[in-house]
């Protein structure tokens, strides 16, 4: 799902490096290498109505495992609190870490989930659970939230991909993130705030020859598809056409077209530019954007690294929330800040915190979610959830409900009805309006 440089030497590093090497627009065109059928999708008019509602999702993946104690659920003055303190927010009585002063001023838009217990301390498995809403198993693979959002929300008439993943170096994405939805809904990966690679036609190719090439390709495709049409061949065709549309609309990925003042407000560093890119993509109707902020796997020197990382995260994130609200987009945009897990309340001997999935936090905002809300509670030292416990399955249902998707529905694939969210879980109705 994303690139990884874990402190604990996880397998994810190697696996995602291979994925990174697969990334490029040409890789998209070759997306048929990913297995999975594109079955009949049984939503019809309801699906079209949903798409017309123009809902979107932006996910911030705090890669490596953000510490809940240095962010959304601080415990200052306790044995586990560490040196960071808490500050008041725009919602009376709600305090978050002093490392998030700008975000604190946007708390009235946010919905803090402080009772997350996913019981999985492995990076790869935790990430899978948080992005698919299911526990990983050898028996089945499930689509990530980005692929589901692209399938359910994206209006293809806009000519833009529905699933975009922004990482610092363009790695990540792909894999089998679309699972049974098929490669059509896999992500396009952007490196930093740069547009997709290879979207500029080489000078040596004239417009006329370019047109003729594609006419020839379409003609041959049509001949072939008339006899051997499959989900894979559809995906190939879609990839080429999507690449062409991307070339036509590559200005959507050019943040230099944003006002200079906005570029300053978001910050000149990578993450600031990525947040501005996210805003630009969302405003242009891209249904799902995932921005990775890396890295939080702070087994060593947890506090100084969180000062650094959240110091970079805070202002651009808060600016994006404020902008979405000011422009009326927050009503139509679900914002999620997640990790693969949280970090241990115990402070280790290197001033670090290790992996901790029993009691941590996720933040959401927008769509049909309650504003300025806190759901769930941990004990005084943050070691356990004492109220409002939720897990990845419930969160996944809630993401979908927040953008108007009935998470109890199924998708028919090759004659099988596959629930889009884990039927054993349910939405967190108390945070939905």
């Amino acid at each position: 799902m994303t690139f990884a440089h874990y402190a604990c030497g996880s397998y994810e590093h190697g696996a995602n490096r291979r994925r990174f090497l697969r990334q490029s627009l040409s890789g998209i065109a070759a997306g048929g290498a990913i297995a999975g059928g594109l079955g009949s999708l049984a939503f019809g008019a309801a699906a079209e109505q949903l798409k017309s509602q123009d809902m979107r999702v932006v996910v911030f993946n705090m890669h490596g495992g953000l510490s809940q104690l240095e962010s959304w659920d601080p415990k200052p003055g306790t044995k586990t609190g560490g040196p960071c303190r808490s500050i008041a927010t725009s919602v009376p009585g709600v305090h978050i870490s002093d490392l998030l002063p700008y975000t604190a001023k946007q708390m009235h838009h946010l919905c803090l989930m402080r009772g997350v217990n996913t019981a999985e301390d492995d990076h790869g498995k935790g990430a899978y659970m948080m992005l698919t809403g299911r526990r990983q198993s050898g028996a089945a693979d499930y689509p990530q939230i980005g692929a589901v959002a692209a399938r359910m929300l994206n209006d293809e008439n806009r000519g833009l991909p529905g699933h975009i993943v922004v990482t610092p170096n363009g790695g990540g994405g792909k894999g089998n993130e679309a699972a049974y939805l098929g490669p059509k809904y896999a992500s396009i990966s952007l490196g930093g705030s740069k547009p997709p690679p290879n979207t500029t036609k080489p000078d040596a190719i004239t417009d006329e020859s370019e047109t003729r090439r594609h006419e020839l390709r379409r003609h041959i495709n049509q001949e072939f598809l008339s006899r051997r049409r499959t989900a894979i061949t559809d995906a190939y065709t879609h990839s080429y056409e999507q690449a062409l549309r991307l070339m036509e609309r590559k200005d959507v990925f050019d943040i230099s077209k944003e006002p200079v003042r906005d570029q300053d407000r978001y910050g000149k560093h990578d993450f600031g530019r990525q947040c501005l890119m996210a805003r630009r993509l969302l405003e242009n109707g891209v249904s799902f954007v995932q921005v990775t902020h890396s890295n939080y796997d702070t087994h060593n020197e947890n506090f100084i690294f969180h000062i650094e990382q959240l110091g970079e995260f805070d202002q651009p994130f808060a600016t994006l929330i404020a902008d979405l609200a000011d422009r009326g987009l927050l009503e139509k945009t679900l914002v999620v800040v997640l990790s693969e897990f949280g970090r241990t309340p115990n402070i280790n001997l290197y001033y670090g915190r290790d992996h901790w999935s029993k009691a941590w936090s996720v933040v959401m905002a927008g769509g049909k979610l309650a504003r300025g809300a806190v759901f769930g509670k941990t004990n005084d030292e943050g070691t356990e959830v004492v109220d409002g416990q939720v897990d990845h399955g419930a969160l996944f249902h809630t993401y979908l409900r927040a953008v108007g998707v009935d998470s109890s529905q199924s998708i028919a694939v090759d004659g099988r009805e596959l629930p889009i969210a884990d039927p054993a879980a349910a939405p967190i109705w108390k945070v939905l309006t």
Partner: protein, 328 residues
């Protein structure tokens, strides 16, 4: 003094892991800070303990006045506190808002008139020791500042930062005089998106024309505490690197403090996954001439030169005082 006979003379336990420590110049008291944001005052050699309450966060920076009567502390709460520490009931003399964010180092000038403080806000500030009023500030560091010391002559201040830059400030004209390169102590890990290391410790010996800068190198995995201790021996006058004191077999080590002994031996304390180690160096070789393994991971040290005693602050809640001589 015989560093090869170093031994633990006293150890006193507190309730929480310790962070930093300093010995009073008179050798009769040690101040330590702990993960509950408290300061402990330990009487030497009885181990009697008094508590100082005033900071709202952890304290990494402590410094005694030369007469041992005052202790100045800088906290992660951005505050500096002056404490009267030789009274029956120690008390706060003054408390000021000094920096935005963590204070990483405080130093008192040789004439006891000025306090210098540095921290994450990248600003060097100088304060009146007697009133707590800011005298002036110095800007020029681009990253967090970790360490500060006064030149014994009092006319220069030396500050070291995360990027391995050591700035020498002229305090007469209040300007940056020059910069010494200690970048071997800095690592950027692009894969982890992390900057790590920096000048965690410094010690100046004007007679030897040498500046020691301590920290870490080989930081291949900063988030996983994979790095090794390193002390740079630099020419004070021109900043030329004379020796890199690296130590074998101390994976996970980081030099939290360096100091000079009377005979010109350099001492560093390393803490990390290999525990706490006192490392002794001279100018004839890059490897240490002696190492003393402490019982557990240490996070700071302070040497009392006249008595050849060294205090160390430990993760296992203990303050330990070791003698650098044969047991009597």
């Amino acid at each position: 003094m015989d560093i090869t006979k170093t031994h633990i003379a006293y150890q006193w336990k507190y309730d929480r892991p310790l962070i930093a420590c300093r010995m009073a110049p008179n050798g009769l008291q040690v101040a330590s800070s702990s993960e509950d944001s408290m300061i402990q005052l330990w009487t030497v050699p009885s181990g009697e303990k008094k508590m100082l309450t005033g900071h709202e966060s952890w304290v990494h920076a402590l410094c005694y006045s030369s007469d041992s009567r005052q202790l100045v502390t800088g906290g992660c709460d951005g505050k500096i506190i002056w404490w009267s520490v030789q009274d029956e009931s120690p008390s706060i003399l003054r408390k000021i808002d000094a920096h935005a964010g963590w204070i990483r180092g405080v130093a008192i000038s040789p004439d006891n008139l000025t306090v210098a403080s540095v921290g994450n806000d990248r600003i060097v500030r100088l304060w009146s020791m007697s009133t707590g009023e800011m005298i002036y500030e110095l800007a020029g560091h681009e990253r967090h500042i970790y360490s500060a010391l006064f030149h014994p002559g009092g006319n220069q201040l030396v500050t070291g930062d995360l990027h391995g830059k050591i700035h020498i400030w002229n305090l007469y004209d209040r300007k940056l005089e020059r910069t010494i390169d200690a970048t071997p102590l800095y690592a950027e890990n692009k894969g982890q998106g992390a900057e790590f290391g920096g000048v965690r410790a410094m010690a100046l010996n004007v007679e030897r024309n040498e500046l020691l800068a301590g920290g870490t190198h080989k930081a291949t995995n900063p988030f996983g505490a994979v790095h090794e201790p390193l002390v740079l021996r630099l020419n004070w006058s021109d900043g030329v690197l004379k020796k890199s004191h690296a130590c074998d077999g101390i994976a996970g080590g980081l030099v939290w403090r360096v100091q000079w002994l009377m005979d010109g031996t350099a001492v560093g304390v390393s803490g990390g996954s290999t525990g706490g180690i006192l490392l002794f160096f001279n100018d004839t070789q890059e490897k240490e001439i002696h190492r003393f393994k402490l019982p557990t991971l240490a996070r700071d040290m302070d040497i009392h030169l006249e008595s050849n005693m060294v205090a160390t602050a430990h993760y296992d809640n203990h303050l330990r005082i070791s003698g650098m001589f044969a047991k009597v």
